[in-house]
């Protein structure tokens, strides 16, 4: 910020200035004229402000410095219509006007400001919050530098089809902004920095325009396919007085999610009902709790197995959960909100089977980043929201099922249920492998945790990908809020803040949130632990401390093998040891209780008990467990 040089004017200085002024007058006219002018000036007794300024170059005190009605107050009025509970932010001067309005004019309620230590944390917290609450949270972001910090988390949310309501500051007016940091934090096209992976952005140039765009951004973000939206908010709009009259805030109109074409849905139903071995694959179908109910209804109607990944779309202990068991080869596969169906379609073609896709993803593509995967040669592609289409599909299926088909389906269902049961039994048998191992095995960690949380209203707010899916193999997931899934774009640094955001959403429902947190991920921006402590967000974090970026160890090992070189250097650049990081101390430094490090699996149960009790009282806590790699 540019510093204003303040000049103090005392009486002596004033008189000196007056004398200089007088001398100037003397040399520009006759002596008599000068005397006359001097007499006139003395006659006024006190110089007015204009005279002082003219004589000394000092700017007069401007009484209008006080702005009673800044533009950012109106922005708060707009934001308050959008049912935003929280706004996550790392402070930045490009939004200082709105920041002040939020906490004072808006009374720091709806939305309440959350102090974040990194913009990536602010966006990823919003990401995790949505996955539990089903509505967006706001992330308030500093111009250019903050937005670049946030960009990875934005990309994760984009790839995960998660709406984030983002507002970024900008000193847009080049005539008003100062040199230095104000220029460094400004951009001609702020949204352009992240446009490849935001669904929509705008830069309003008036308060009326802000109101319209702010409401529009919310609706676009939450319409399938969902995604982050961005409003660039000029600093001048925030800071200048609101002099606009007749301003109004548009009503939020919600766009209904698109349903599949009725003829295409009827065709899909016919293929599914007549299939001998149908399969349902899902990634991000259940947008709402009702979505999971619909998934169950479809599976039970068809007696078809459901292979679910990414989100909590289907209960893991339902008899139809899984891939149907060994040897089950689908003749018709329906993919619901699956990002890349190409592999499934390719395999289906090879055995003359059919593939159906119902997804909203194809309704909104961008060109640059290739997150959409391969082109999928499916036999029936329905561009629609899967959850919105399921009622019609289920109804069509039910109409077509004859008694003969029902008998065949029921027979199939019994086999699938038996296979499911057998796979479940084998998974539990596998859970005893390395039971007493040190470092602690992940199967034992998850097995020891389950009996202590199963009678709580629990929620797993972390991804299972790096922990060999043990919770899914041992625990009973049957509620939509019991699992939040992964990063979206595979970007590390998501896990810890998403867990905190999800735990924040669970807090008001009185749920117990637990995260099995990978060490590499936490070290991107561990300051979010402080955010959890500061805002009293109850969350049990259990460190999966395998002391490294383990996936990369395996990749380097594979690369070395292909080149006929040893893997004895695979630890270089991949391991987090020497020194080992003590996460219990890290937690304590950030203001929460920290336990461990635990290396003996016998210490798990008593430590879990202590930590769960603490979290039950409304605090975050962390347990450092030194673990096997996977």
């Amino acid at each position: 910020m540019a510093k204003i040089k303040k000049v103090k004017v005392d009486r002596r200085g004033f008189l000196k200035g007056a004398a200089v002024g007088a001398a100037s007058a003397v040399v520009t006219g006759t002596a008599a004229e000068a005397q006359e002018q001097l007499a006139q000036r003395n006659a006024t007794a006190q110089p007015n402000a204009t005279t002082v300024a003219a004589d000394t170059g000092i700017r007069p005190v401007v009484s209008s410095r006080i702005i009673e009605k800044p533009g950012s107050d109106f922005m708060v009025d707009v934001l308050k219509t959008l049912d935003l509970e929280y706004v996550a932010a790392n402070p930045g001067s490009t939004f200082e006007g709105l920041h002040e309005s939020l906490i004072n004019y808006g009374d720091n309620k709806m939305p309440e400001l959350l102090t974040c230590c990194h913009e990536e944390s602010a966006v990823a917290m919003s990401h995790g919050y949505y996955k539990i609450e089903g509505k967006p949270m706001m992330a308030l972001i500093h111009g250019t530098i903050g937005l670049q910090h946030a960009s990875m988390a934005i990309y994760n949310a984009y790839a995960d089809r998660v709406p984030i309501y983002m507002v970024v500051g900008d000193h847009a007016d080049g005539a008003e902004r100062a040199s230095g940091v104000q220029s460094l934090h400004s951009a001609q096209d702020m949204g352009g920095l992240v446009r490849d992976f935001t669904k929509w952005d705008d830069q309003p140039y008036s308060l009326g325009h802000f109101a319209e765009s702010a409401v529009r951004a919310y609706n676009i973000a939450t319409t399938p396919p969902m995604g982050p939206t961005l409003i660039t908010m000029n600093a001048e709009l925030q800071l200048h007085p609101n002099t606009q009259t007749g301003l109004r805030i548009p009503k939020l109109s919600r766009t209904a999610p698109p349903q599949g074409d009725s003829a295409a849905v009827a065709q899909a139903a016919q293929w599914l009902v007549n299939a001998e071995s149908p399969m349902i694959m899902t990634e991000r179908t259940a947008r709402t709790p009702n979505g999971m109910k619909l998934m169950i209804e479809l599976a039970e109607t068809l007696q078809a197995p459901v292979s679910s990944s990414e989100r909590m779309d289907f209960p893991n202990r339902h008899p139809m959960a899984g891939t149907g068991g060994p040897g089950y080869e689908p003749d018709v596969t329906i993919s619901l909100e699956v990002n890349d169906v190409s592999g499934t379609a390719r395999a289906a073609r090879a055995r003359n089977a059919r593939t159906i896709s119902i997804s909203s993803i194809d309704l909104s593509h961008k060109a640059n980043i290739q997150e959409f995967g391969h082109y999928s040669e499916v036999d029936l592609d329905i561009g629609a929201d899967a959850e919105a289409t399921l009622p019609a599909l289920i109804e069509q299926c039910k109409k077509l099922i004859t008694p003969d088909r029902r008998r065949a389906m029921d027979a199939r269902g019994a086999k699938i249920a038996a296979a499911h049961q057998e796979i479940r039994r084998r998974n539990i048998e596998l859970a005893s492998v390395g039971w007493d191992a040190s470092p602690v095995s992940l199967n034992r960690l998850c097995a020891e945790l389950w009996p202590q949380i199963k009678d709580l209203d629990w929620s797993l707010v972390s991804w299972q990908g790096f922990i060999s899916g043990w919770p899914g193999r041992l625990w009973n997931f049957d509620k939509h809020y019991q699992y939040i899934g992964g990063q979206g774009a595979g970007g590390m640094g998501y896990g810890a803040p998403a867990a905190v955001g999800a735990a924040l959403a669970n807090k008001k429902h009185g749920r117990f949130s637990v995260s099995i947190q990978t060490d590499g991920d936490l070290n991107y921006a561990p300051g979010v632990l402080w955010t959890a402590a500061h805002h009293r967000i109850p969350l049990l974090t259990i460190m999966h401390n395998n002391r490294g970026y383990h996936q990369e160890v395996m990749f380097i090992e594979q690369a070395a093998s292909i080149r006929n070189r040893g893997a004895d250097r695979a630890h270089i650049g991949t391991k987090l040891w020497d020194p080992d990081i003590n996460y219990a101390k890290m937690a304590q430094a950030y203001g929460m209780e920290g336990f461990g490090p635990i290396t003996d699996p016998k210490d798990l149960a008593p430590t879990f008990r202590k930590a769960i009790e603490l979290v039950g009282k409304g605090e975050p806590a962390m347990i450092d467990v030194v673990t096997q790699p996977r």
Binding site: V433, Q558, D568, P629
Partner: protein, 127 residues
């Protein structure tokens, strides 16, 4: 999910295949102490766990290959995209013999699930 299925079941299939082809060897010539160092240094733990039985890779404990079968497997694994091969240039037969000796010292810690109260309870839980 299909990928995950193979990650989870492949180790079992491999262990089963090995057991079918070869008789277990109870003698382990080689320097187990050196083998322990190599097991860590060459990142064997990355897929098989420090325990030799936890991770994405095949379960090595109890070792069902004889030493010669183990060396042959490491030199030319049937699915090299999952199990990287280690040539003689990288690890000599004597080194692999030492690793084999070390693996043979690792305790088999896999009691039946029914004998572990927690797992037994999970087994008995309803759908």
């Amino acid at each position: 999910m299909i990928k995950l299925f193979w990650i989870l079941t492949l180790p079992l299939l491999l262990a089963g295949a090995a057991a079918a082809q070869t008789a277990p060897s109870d003698k382990a010539p080689g320097d187990a102490k050196h083998g322990k160092d190599l097991f860590a240094r060459y990142s064997c733990y990355a897929c098989h766990g420090f325990s030799g039985q936890n991770g994405n890779g095949a379960r090595l404990v109890p070792m069902k290959f004889p030493q010669a079968g183990f060396i042959a497997y490491v030199r030319n694994p049937p699915r090299p995209n999952q199990m990287p091969s280690f040539s003689a240039k990288v690890l000599a037969d004597t080194d692999l013999g030492d690793i084999y000796a070390y693996i043979k010292t690792l305790p088999d810690s896999a009691p039946p699930a029914s004998s572990v109260p927690i797992l037994s309870q999970i087994l008995s839980q309803n759908q």
